[in-house]
């Protein structure tokens, strides 16, 4: 478990990181928490010649709310997300998912930006961000772009980010009052990726009807799955047990999971349904209490 040799660079500012990236081009990789990149390097599945470490860039670690948006620096760690009073109060779904990622050591280093940029369908934040309707800010040689998370993934380990682009910030619309959310993740043990997981973020309006809903699945397809069909089914209606059941069926039907040690694809699809069932019921109950 020893990586091929590489050169290490520590960036102090966003600009410095971008300069280093531009200088070394395709031979460079951004190093954030290293919790996905380093294992791949140790298995020699990746062998970049240069690492540009952004984990100490202060600007990338900020976490604040402005203009109805929760703005999270890309290098904020899972632990920082977990301990954020802002998130706990206004957007608990992010912390709920973060708590189910890896173990404390992984969470102390792993970052939100790295989790999103990596493009691993097993990662938990992508579906959470899709359910929240979040966008990310990417900065590169051509300037800054805003990319909605829905549509950010193109396939396995493949995103809209260009090679010389840095993901700088994640922007989440602050959920309104009477919102509820849940992240239900089935896994075998601490530190395990999901067999299947479902993220639900919903808001209630007049007469307890569903004013807004986002539903997305983790690890049951080559990329996170937004369940637009199920969202359309529930939007504007009072959510009943029957509707939840139908949404769960939609989740199962949407899956394109591989067979692996978590189980065969059929099981994982069924579990995506079960997690969605539970996440919907949980989110609804929380929204009613909110």
């Amino acid at each position: 478990m020893i990586p091929a040799s590489f050169e290490y660079h520590r960036a102090r500012t966003i600009d410095e990181a971008l300069e280093l990236l531009a200088k070394y081009g395709e031979d460079a990789k951004i190093l954030a928490g290293g919790q996905s990149l380093l294992p791949m390097m140790k298995l020699r599945l990746a062998s970049p010649g240069h690492l540009v470490d952004i984990s100490e860039v202060a600007q990338l670690k900020e976490l604040r709310e402005a203009d109805g948006l929760i703005r999270i620096g890309a290098a904020a760690t899972e632990t920082a997300l977990l301990h954020s009073a802002l998130l706990r109060g206004k957007c608990p779904l992010i912390g709920e998912a973060a708590a189910q990622i890896g173990d404390p050591q992984i969470r102390n280093r792993g970052t939100l930006g790295g989790n999103l940029a990596h493009g691993d369908p097993g990662n938990d934040h992508p579906s959470v961000m899709i359910a929240l309707g979040a966008s990310v800010i990417a900065r590169g040689p051509a300037g800054e772009r805003r990319l909605p998370m829905d549509g950010f993934y193109r396939g396995l380990y493949d995103t809209q980010l260009e090679p010389l682009e840095l993901l700088t910030e994640i922007q989440v619309p602050t959920p309104p009052a009477r919102s509820g959310a849940a992240y239900l993740k089935l896994k075998r043990k601490i530190g395990d990726f999901a067999t299947a997981a479902s993220a639900v973020q919903l808001s209630l309006g007049e007469g307890d009807t569903c004013a807004r809903i986002g539903i997305a699945l983790t690890n049951v397809a080559p990329m996170p799955l937004r369940l637009s069909g199920a969202e359309a089914l529930l939007a504007g209606k009072r959510i009943t047990a029957e509707l939840i059941e139908q949404a769960a069926q939609i989740a199962t039907g949407a899956c394109d999971a591989a067979d692996d040690f978590h189980g065969p694809s059929e099981y994982r699809a069924q579990m995506a349904g079960e997690m969605t069932r539970r996440a919907l019921a949980g989110a609804l109950e929380r929204a009613r209490r909110d």
Partner: protein
Amino acid sequence: MDAASAAETLNKDHLMGIGNARKRKEDPRFIQGKGRYIDDIKLPDMLFAKMVRSPHGHARIKSINTQKALGLPGVHAVLTANDLKPLKLHWMPTLAGDVQAVLADEKVCFMGQEVAMVVADDRYIAADAADLVEVEYEELPVIVDPHKALLPDAPVIREDLAGKSEGAHGKRTHHNHIFTWEVGDREAADRVFGQAAVTVKETMTYQRVHPSPLETCGCVASFDKVKGELTVYLTSQAPHVVRTVVAMLSGIPESSVHVISPDIGGGFGNKVGVYPGYVVAIVASIVLGRPVKWVEERIENLSTTAFARDYHMTGELAADRNGRIKALRVHVLADHGAFDACADPSKWPAGFFSICTGSYDIPAAYARVDGIYTNKAPGGVAYRCSFRVTEASYVIERMVDVLAQKLDLDKAEVRLRNFIRPEQFPYRSSLGWEYDSGNYPAALQKVLTAVDYSGLRREQAEKRARGELMGIGLSTFTEVVGAGPRKTCDILGIAMFDSCEIRIHPTGAAIARFGTKSQGQAHETTYAQILATEIGIPSDVIQIEEGDTDTAPYGLGTYGSRSTPTGGAAAALAGRKIREKARKIAAHLLEVSAEDLEWQGDRFQVKGVPDQAKTMKEIAWAAYNNLPEGMEPGLEAVEYYDPPNLTFPFGAYLCVVDIDRHTGEPKVRRFYALDDCGTRINPMVIEGQIHGGLAEAFAVAMGQELVYDDSGTLQGASFMDYFVPTAVETPYWETDYTVTPSPHHPIGAKGVAESPHVGGVSAFSNAVIDAFAHLGVTHLSMPYTPWRLWQKIHDLGLDKRSG
């Protein structure tokens, strides 16, 4: 306070001897990161070795090109089979009487097999160089299923054995067949089966798993060319035998071979054998004249060094209508992988599998085990159990449940009807063991009462009526641990005794050394406690050493729960020898005859005269300055203990599991473990060992499995995939005990640390299967991952939602 309780207080509180739950003496160093493991050993000029391994399950090696690797700056050598051939070290003997390729000789027989070793200045260069070794393979057909291995046209795995119809254990019947081992009276068993009122039969696989100690295997070999001396630091549970084998293979006098096992981060059977990595590192050190370190990576540990189990078993019971068992038949296909490198006593190719009659009085029994080669890693070690005892216990504990289901009898009741009764001990089993002691009904009854068994069964009935899945699993197991005796048990001809040497210093402190080797069992604590009670000096001032073959007395090491039965017995008897000499010195000091003295736990006292006494501390001092005429100075003793029999610890475990019908997740709600290991040396240490063994049993039952695909590729050989539960997943354990001393052991103790694994696996398994028993399910294969259970639930239609 009466005399008895005064003695008890002295022993337990002052001496911290047998029965005291004192803290472990080794923990201050472990919890402060001051343990010294293999990878902590750094010698001047040390080089690092890295194995080049086969990416194929079965292939011919067409060529190996080492030029590029050798060209990398910092690389000192790349060794292949051709380099070992002149030394006749390209093959080595295994503990099981087979041979194993040290570095692949013309072909590879399993994925991960050792092909070449690179030696370089540091780990980083070694890793780069290993990537540069070019090996050209021609792939051959692969067999990973032992059933298929025996088909007439199955590929030949071991071409080196061509024409050999006799193996180390008798006739071979097929080119992939290793041995047939039979025990019991087949005809008698068959007769009973022919006439029995009821028979049951079940096929079950005990999946291939890995002991997966946290510390992987490794060594540092250092050959001193000037002195001609070889020092090997090694993660070995049996360092003395390794030294003997190294001396025999290398031709270096055994006195010039120094094998040292430092602190070991868990062994569980994985560190009994001798691995190719050790051998090549030693050769590299001899060739290069510099120390060479080789340490496995996690993936290498899981995929190449000793696995456990892989037993494909068929169990059968014959009984009368009341559930009284009349006969047992078992057949096993034992998948040993590409080389037979099982670590069993040499004459026991299936270990102590013949303990498969368990805790039950079964008049007729017959067992047969066929060892098979496949294109999988070699091994077959006793993972946290005595040799093949977990497998044996599993088959009988499962079969008793199957019988109960067939007869619609309660699973506890069937056990109570069949137990060997307390008055039958010592009990001779139909497969030849003499069980030393036991009280099985008392143990089970205590558990049933503690958990309100009938209440649990009522609850289960209610839940079943509601369509919920709740299972209650019982395991009333018996182990056989503590090999020797010498007459029946040896390793490569060396009798399985064990030893203790003790020396009391003038101030009354002591050092004692043993031939065993702790890997977490707390020998530094428990051996000191035995000696404290026997000699009458506090366990705190008794230093225990093991693992250095230059200083420790010869012994066969630690595995199969043998340390307390053998080393612990040696400690007690060595202590008694010290006491005998001390008595003579005390008599001299008190000017009375030795017969006039009585032992008071820490002193000799003139009978009936309490103020006329000499403490052990005073006697120790006198041993160095004031001795009777003609007595040699000093206070030392040596004991080499050949056990008259093995010990038979037992227990009664009960597990309650709830299974989520919609995810298949099993949740262990309750686990009650009652163990009887005879005399209890340190209750806290026992509890710790029980917790650890149960956690490993949980891991095996619920998730561990080494899965090979049809191309011979091992799926998931890292801790991302291979299931090692954390404290979060591991259930809460309730522990309990009874005490039935071993009649033949000097302090009445039996082994204990493996019982929880042996008993635990079948308790979990029985609980999960019991959850489905009302639906006619008699067996489900481990491991009980959520998807497997869900599959069963789904097939049975239990996951339907009402409405």
